[in-house]
Assembly symmetry: C2
Homo-oligomer: 115 residues x 2
């Protein structure tokens, strides 16, 4: 993808005052919501260039290649943006669990169920 396209894409996105945008990651096959993390412009560019998710770690203040250490990378199938341009939805084929606990999804805890 060339720089012009990058520029064109990024202008439609609203990064917050810290230069970040929320990214929801969904399994392209099971449709499970796997995790929510943050991206800055660099991590979005790396995600687009490599086809694997990269995020910005707010706690460590560094770029983070998901699965770079564990091998549980997330291959990107599609990136969507919401109507006001401040949230990304990233559909992926995961190579392994999304959660550091070993669970498939980070959302393994129920707060409440209604029948």
């Amino acid at each position: 993808m060339n720089e012009t396209t990058h520029y064109a894409l990024r202008t439609t996105l609203k990064f917050d005052d810290s230069g970040l945008i929320t990214a929801v990651v969904q399994d392209n096959t099971t449709r499970d919501v796997l995790m929510v993390a943050w991206m800055n412009a660099d991590s979005l560019r790396l995600t687009q260039e490599t086809g694997e998710t990269h995020f910005w770690s707010r706690s460590r203040q560094e770029l983070w290649h998901k699965g770079g250490t564990s091998g549980n990378v997330q291959r990107v199938r599609e990136i969507r943006v919401d109507c006001d341009g401040d949230t990304l939805l990233i559909l992926v084929d995961p190579a392994g669990p999304a959660c550091h606990t070993g669970e498939t999804s980070c959302f393994f805890t129920k707060l409440e169920t209604r029948d």
Copy 2:
């Protein structure tokens, strides 16, 4: 739900410095990710008490009952929290489109597709 339960639930959640937590809303049947919005403790309490999603509008700085005007309410089926307690996943049966544009989901715009 009694106050003790509310208290117990809220202590497991990490609201940010503005008292907000990210809420991802997913259709319980189609599994589409419909929208992402913010909740404060009051909107979460109202969501739990009424069984319909309530959010905090950062732009208007007010509580917002989703569908309160349009009728497109979202009946809550399940609320999940992620492993670090700072994001909610809310599974809903929506009475109509989630997006103010009339689209089913706010994520109707593709940034990129990989084949």
